[in-house]
Subunit: 342 residues, 2 copies
């Protein structure tokens, strides 16, 4: 099996936002600021950008003087394309001695100025969304250890945040646990993982098996979910991830204010009960014991009373602990998982 060597990232980072106007497109930058604040020194935005990470705005020279060693592309447009409008700025960063780190599908060297600037300067082009070359076909073999996977009613509903929060809470409770990143932002935050959506489809479940190998009986892999089974473009990624990781526990992530899928207004957000039924059907192909262990809601925008009422109502409807990981933590879920195995 290929080793899960992470990309060699050199913090601290200058976060590049281009002209991003939708916070959902800036999830890489916002994720790094939230989970690795000590590694982020500033943001670089074009004049018409409307996303703000809260970090100081800097140009490349200021970032260099503030100690930045890498510029990280902090936006992820649909399809993962590199925007040619970014080329000059990224080349300037390389010339100033910063590495450029990208989570796009297209390799950085496909923008011609970047290869030249890296060659001139000795700075590095770091493509995080490049899967290992030699991945196996999945075997379907049950593995030792326990696995927890976040799944969602849509993309961008908090699957990565929830998994990182679950991992942190389990570790704080003294549980032996590892966060397993499956996307570019998770890999940048944790330093290792496999960008599953870039894996050739035949090897997707096999890559998910590699990511979550045999482990101690009481060890939990906490796995970053991807996409949604109800998404017309990305459901295949979700299904391969479920089958390959063979999760024991699933946590459903949902944004209650959303009625249609992000960027796909003709597709409604599915009902939670149907969603859970379909996720369990899928998961039980490779793990007949799979079950839901919690629900994670993104209640941003709600007041405290409304939030509390919604969490209680959802807990009653689903019979599961229901949390908002950002607003109130995930301990209602992890307290149960941290118990000794029955």
């Amino acid at each position: 099996l290929p080793e899960l060597v992470g990309p060699e990232l050199r913090p601290p980072y200058l976060l590049f936002l281009g002209d991003a106007t939708n916070p959902l497109d800036a999830k890489t930058a916002l994720g790094l600021v939230h989970w690795r604040p000590e590694d982020c020194v500033g943001q670089l935005r074009f004049a018409n950008a409307r996303v703000d990470t809260g970090l100081p705005d800097m140009d490349i020279g200021q970032a260099r003087r503030s100690g930045a060693r890498s510029l990280v592309i902090g936006v992820a447009p649909t399809g993962g394309a590199l925007n040619p409008d970014w080329e000059t700025t990224l080349a300037n960063a390389l010339d100033a001695g910063l590495d450029v780190v990208s989570g796009m599908h297209a390799p950085l060297a496909s923008l011609p100025k970047l290869g030249n600037a890296a060659y001139r300067s000795g700075s590095r082009l770091v493509d995080v969304r490049r899967p290992p070359d030699e991945l196996p076909v999945a075997s379907g073999r049950r593995r030792s250890g326990r696995r927890l996977l976040t799944v969602g009613t849509d993309c961008c509903v908090g699957k990565k945040y929830t998994a990182l929060a679950l991992h942190r809470a389990l570790r704080r409770a003294g549980v032996n646990a590892t966060f397993r990143a499956t996307g570019q932002t998770g890999i940048m935050i944790s330093g290792a993982g496999i960008p599953l959506d870039a894996v050739p489809a035949d090897f997707l479940a096999g890559a998910a098996e590699c990511l979550t190998p045999d482990n101690e009986p009481d060890h939990w892999d906490v796995i970053e979910g991807q996409g949604s089974l109800f998404h017309p473009a990305y459901a295949a990624v979700t299904l391969g991830l479920i089958h390959g990781t063979q999760p024991d526990g699933l946590v459903l992530c949902h944004e209650p204010a959303r009625t249609v899928l992000d960027d796909f207004p003709n597709f409604p957000v599915p009902d939670l009960a149907i969603c859970m039924k379909r996720y369990l059907e899928a998961a039980r192909l490779t793990n007949p014991d799979a079950r839901f262990v919690g629900v994670s809601l993104n209640t941003a925008g709600l007041g405290a009373a409304e939030r509390e009422s919604l969490l209680e109502r959802t807990a009653a409807e689903t019979g599961l602990p229901c949390v908002d990981p950002i607003a109130a933590g995930v301990e209602p879920i992890t307290d149960r998982l941290a118990q000794p195995l029955p």
Copy 2:
């Protein structure tokens, strides 16, 4: 959208079988012999091979004298790896002036002797399982025209044969129809298509959309199925194919004698009714009108009376026309599809 330019194949073919012992591993050779007999001149087998296409055994010199212009690798081991034991034979074929055609995931040039031999001889290395470089993310937009997709209870249950037979029968009935290949053998048979299992997972449904574009209202795309939703390694390929092609009609393919999945003995073949329910759930995400229009059984090994009884029983159980495309044709399915639209 990328154009669906097929690989430039030069028939007639010498079919290379290596040391294949399982006919399921030789589906490329057997498919070409069945659907393109006029393009196949002979087979080349190692001494310990036990698969036989029925074509004359030939060495490379004999094949050349019989008019062969290409050697086609006719075996497809799990994972699509190139076997280093083949290298000398393939290099000899190139040196003798034959192109070498491969449906493996690994590019032919990854065997070092082949690049050298191709350079020396001017013969070509033709990698059929290479997807287009620029594929879009799926849009989920409904397209004009009608689409028919074969799905299965497992891999290697007749999805490609059934689709090719459906296409031929529709054309014979005067229906405007196109066969859409999604795997290496189908591409070699039809001369065009996209090898979906080699597409990066994020673009899988998008590739399936490209493969089946807008068309005349009465035109049928007849799409080769891949894998199975109940397969621990390949279900993701199946789901992306279903979502992207948004089929109006589904045909369920099944091998009644099989009780466990091919190469995955811990996974039972699913019940037909559950299978159909789950395929419809998946298909209706992108096409709420999706429905089953037939069942295709591989009854090889049964006598005529047993076959007839099984086909009748399955038709009664499912309420659908039930055929064996090899033994008796698919007209019970296509006769209904060839009716004018309601």
